[in-house]
């Protein structure tokens, strides 16, 4: 087990290095002069030259890459061209809102996707199966930004059930301000016992998290169905049937337990890729998270922000994948040995 973990960690380091090479290369192919962009449009040539020296842009590329790595190791991810604030601060400020959205979405996806997959496998090749397969493939095929807008038309414009966007109503935020403790609105509202605000925050969370969950729900349902079908053909299921275990018990307890591995791997991947998914959903629901922060940076050509976010998001993605693999290796000895 220890050897497996060690091997994975070394591989992680290699991937991280590759990651830095890619973001470094991208930040150097940017059209235009980074020094000129840093100092602003009305700078004199001598000033630009000074900034170029300060930023180390006059050194050879490999030296620059060395500086880049050194800065990263010190937790210095550069600063925004527009605000000149450290990018890391911006990311830390915006991350909780996105994580809140992602956690609610993955919970919705698991609670919808797994039962749909199980029922679909149980009623294989019936109308129920066809419908649930259509449902999952439709979820996977839908552009999230489009679904978000449809939800806004239906649930805000027509039915008036949910707010159009944002994390909290302005009035509620003014009358019942949430004390900022962790940055997660729900947690903060619960800790401070602010029930009016909690209700409002939850209402705002429904549409964005359901939209974000759509893709993962489809993928999880699909994965659950196919692994369930494989497991259901095993001998021990036949044995369970022959000794008279009820069908629901077979499906939801005996079979699901063995089919859950690949499903959880999928869920882990989904969770990791949700960070990119939030770009579109936060934009449409005016959600003040990391997605909005990045999209604004893209619109303003704020390269240091884009590159730092890319680096950190990719790091997050790789780390989540690693965690999922390690958890699976702990749960399933076959993986440890085969690798």
């Amino acid at each position: 087990m220890l050897r497996y973990i060690l091997k994975r960690l070394i591989w992680l380091l290699v991937v991280l290095f590759g990651l830095c090479v890619i973001t470094f290369t991208l930040s150097r192919v940017v059209p235009g002069d980074p020094a000129a962009a840093y100092i602003g449009p009305r700078a004199r040539p001598e000033q630009v030259e000074l900034v170029r020296q300060q930023l180390g842009l006059d050194r050879p590329l490999y030296v620059q890459f060395g500086f880049y790595l050194r800065d990263l190791a010190h937790g210095n991810f550069g600063e925004s061209l527009r605000t000149h604030r450290p990018v890391l601060r911006g990311i830390v400020d915006h991350l909780p809102a996105s994580l809140e959205l992602m956690f609610s979405a993955i919970i919705i996806a698991l609670f919808l996707g797994i039962p749909i997959g199980v029922v679909s496998a149980r009623r294989e090749n019936t109308v129920v199966d066809h419908l649930s397969r259509l449902f999952s493939v439709a979820n996977v095929s839908m552009p999230s930004f489009w679904l978000a807008m449809i939800f806004q038309i239906v649930f805000f414009r027509w039915l008036g059930l949910f707010p159009i966007g944002g994390r909290i109503d302005t009035v509620t935020a003014l009358l019942h301000p949430i004390e900022k403790i962790t940055g997660f609105s729900i947690v903060d509202a619960v800790i401070s016992g602010n029930w009016v605000a909690l209700r409002n925050v939850l209402l705002h969370l429904v549409l964005p998290s359901v939209t974000l969950a759509a893709y993962s729900t489809g993928l999880i349902a699909r994965m659950t169905r196919s692994t369930m079908l494989e497991v259901l053909r095993e001998d021990y299921i036949t044995t369970a049937r022959s000794i008279g275990v009820s069908e629901s018990e077979i499906h939801f307890i005996h079979a699901l337990r063995n089919a859950i591995g690949p499903t959880l791997t999928t869920a882990g991947l989904c969770f990791a890729s949700m960070l990119t998914g939030t770009f579109f959903i936060e934009l449409i629901f005016f959600w003040p998270g990391l997605g909005t922060y990045t999209i604004n940076a893209i619109f303003l050509n704020d390269y240091p922000v884009i590159m730092a976010v890319t680096l950190l998001m990719a790091l997050f993605y790789v780390a989540v994948n690693l965690c999922v693999d390690l958890l699976l290796a702990i749960a399933d000895p076959r993986i440890r040995i085969s690798k």
Binding site: V14, V15, G18, L19, I22, T23, L26, S27, V29, V30, P31, E124, N125, H130, R133, L134, V137, A138, V140, S141, M142, P143, F145, W146, M149, I150, Q152, I153, F156, R157, L229, A272, S273, L275, T276, F279, F280, I284, I295, I298, F299, N301, Y303, I306, M307, T310, M313, A314, Y317, V318, N321
Partner: protein, 292 residues
């Protein structure tokens, strides 16, 4: 032998046709490709489809004159969507070809030669696959400047390793077969064996993967377009059109709704057909399918 092969294909084909969802997807794709090819004849207002604005008829609701309404520059939405199909399908085919052009030869080389070359290629492929693909694509376009060409390249870069993996796996099992041995015995060169003898035998999984990817690539392109990082105006692009309609969609709902529906239906169709193909080709799944 030839007869048997034909029968195999026929059986696969009949399995595809038996699945109503696959047929549904196939019909949509045929309609889509036809309308993309015949866009100048099908579109009610071809010039507007190409980008000519018509400001007198801004934001008109769907009517007999404009079946799907008009957009913020007064262009007939149906014409725009038909021309958008042209752009999306062409772009997706280009991406699939680029990706195959890189991925397939690398997979052939890795699988055929093995050893150090294999290790090097596959480690590199694994590393690319460790990144979230859409994020990498967004970062690439954001730094190289938004244009359709850059978007196509940006989507291709994180994509080729899937084909390398796929082909490598096939090659490893194929290269032990007798026909490869005999080709070697008569003195065929490595490249001839790889491209003339092994490659034709791994075409079917490559084609299935290509079909499945078409849908996802169209979705990626639309997403980049939606962020303004893909196709640039006045060329019609579904993702750009959804974004154009965003400003008005609570009152003039049709622009974003219909453009987005076009993306959704297209991606759905490719996914349904891809799933059907995979079922027909994978004997393990086929067996399950035939039971009923």
């Amino acid at each position: 032998m030839v007869k048997k092969k034909h029968r195999e294909y026929f059986r696969g084909l009949s399995l595809i046709v038996k699945n109503p969802l696959t047929v549904f997807g196939l019909v949509i794709i045929v309609v889509l490709v036809l309308s993309a090819m015949l866009a100048p004849f099908i579109a009610p207002y071809p010039e507007q489809g190409r980008g000519l604005s018509n400001l007198q008829e801004r934001l008109k609701a769907p009517s007999i004159r404009h079946p799907l309404g008009t957009d913020n520059l007064g262009r007939d939405l149906m014409s725009r969507i038909v021309y958008g199909a042209r752009v999306s399908i062409k772009a997706a085919i280009i991406v699939v070809l680029i990706v195959m052009g890189f991925g397939v030869p690398l997979g052939l080389i890795a699988g055929y030669f093995g050893g150090k070359i294999d290790e090097l290629i596959m480690r590199f492929a694994d590393m690319i696959l460790a990144f979230p693909s859409l994020l990498l694509a967004i970062a690439i376009v954001a730094s190289t400047g938004p244009s359709l060409l850059n978007a196509l390249i940006a989507i291709s870069i994180p994509w080729w390793p899937w084909y390398t993996r796929l082909v490598r796996g096939q090659v490893i099992s194929l290269k032990e077969m007798q026909f490869v041995e005999s080709a070697k015995a008569v003195g065929a060169s490595s490249s001839r064996i790889m491209f003339r003898h092994i490659l034709p035998n791994c075409l079917s999984p490559i084609i299935v993967q290509g079909t499945l990817d078409m849908g996802y690539i169209i979705l990626c392109l639309a997403s980049l377009g939606f962020l303004g990082l893909g196709t640039q105006p006045p060329t019609a692009d579904w993702g750009v059109m959804v974004n154009d309609g965003r400003e008005f969609f609570l009152t003039q709902w049709w622009i974003s709704t219909f453009s987005g529906a076009a993306i959704f239906i297209t991606v759905l169709a490719f996914n349904l057909v891809g799933d059907g193909l995979r079922e027909a080709m994978d004997p393990k799944i086929r067996w399950r399918f035939q039971r009923t």
